[in-house]
Symmetry: C2
Subunit: 159 residues, 2 copies
Amino acid sequence: MKRDSRLSNILHALLHMAEHETRHGAPMTSDMLATCLSTNPVVVRRTMAGLREQGLVASEKGHGGGWRLARPLDQVTLGQVNLALGEPGLFPETPPVEADGCLVEAAVNDALAETYAAARALLVARLNDITLADLAADFSRRMAAHPERDRLHAHHGKA
Amino acid sequence: MKRDSRLSNILHALLHMAEHETRHGAPMTSDMLATCLSTNPVVVRRTMAGLREQGLVASEKGHGGGWRLARPLDQVTLGQVNLALGEPGLFPETPPVEADGCLVEAAVNDALAETYAAARALLVARLNDITLADLAADFSRRMAAHPERDRLHAHHGKA
DNA sequence: CAGTCACGTAACAATTGAAGTTACATGAAA
DNA sequence: TTTCATGTAACTTCAATTGTTACGTGACTG
């Protein structure tokens, strides 16, 4: 998990999970996902725990256990995933303080709060407009345009 | 400089600088600003150095020296200030990598890049629409609504 | 009923980036 | 020439995230 954005990585993982599930009929383990994301299993579990709380994924223990999507691809929006991740790195929260009497500060904070809120609203709206199914479809389109070889896992694994 | 956002603090400082300048005809020193922002002078200089490079403020050494705005209030936009600060905490940069062959990753990154770009564009547009003069005017309006006592520096200084 | 697999979680170490600090150099005014 | 103030480099905290180890629980296998 180098310098990538959280959301980007998790989406990547979710799509691979869906793929794997339909292809092998079995969920992916934390270890598989960790290898896939270049991180370690505990971090995967931590992150996935957030998604599970939002009902996006489910986990199973024991033999044949692992992670699977809890809903069809077209019923999970990027906004939901982003929310489950705690809306990472969005905006500097304009401090709710402003209470200590400086009217300069109050004017500044109000203006910024409004501005950030507008940008955040747009972002959330757009994220909620895109489902995992959309991304999968986009992927298929690209796959069709580059059929010459397997372009799915070229960079996963270590060898 | 506690848990506040960079931009918010600097705007606060800039408005106080303008105030001070017109009131006393002298620039504010890094020490004054440091006290005002609850930080220390070196941090102030570091930050202001960025603004100076963008031509927003000017510094003078020696006796009577310090920091002053390099332009009238209505010719400095919040966007310019934000830019000078390096656009802190905006969005997770969608990685430009995508080159290593995974089409899933490519699809994800493209979708996110588009979405973030749209939100960022809105944010920048709004910030460029607000000038320091607007904030000062807003402040004056609030001042008029609360004339009972000095509501300017209530929380500055230590005693 | 072991034995193994995989998640769940707490506790701790490593890393990273920002902020604070010290120290010293440079330029300007008194 | 002394004092004030910025300019900057180098170092130290400090906080947040991430990585790691360790151990517990549930589930399937044989």
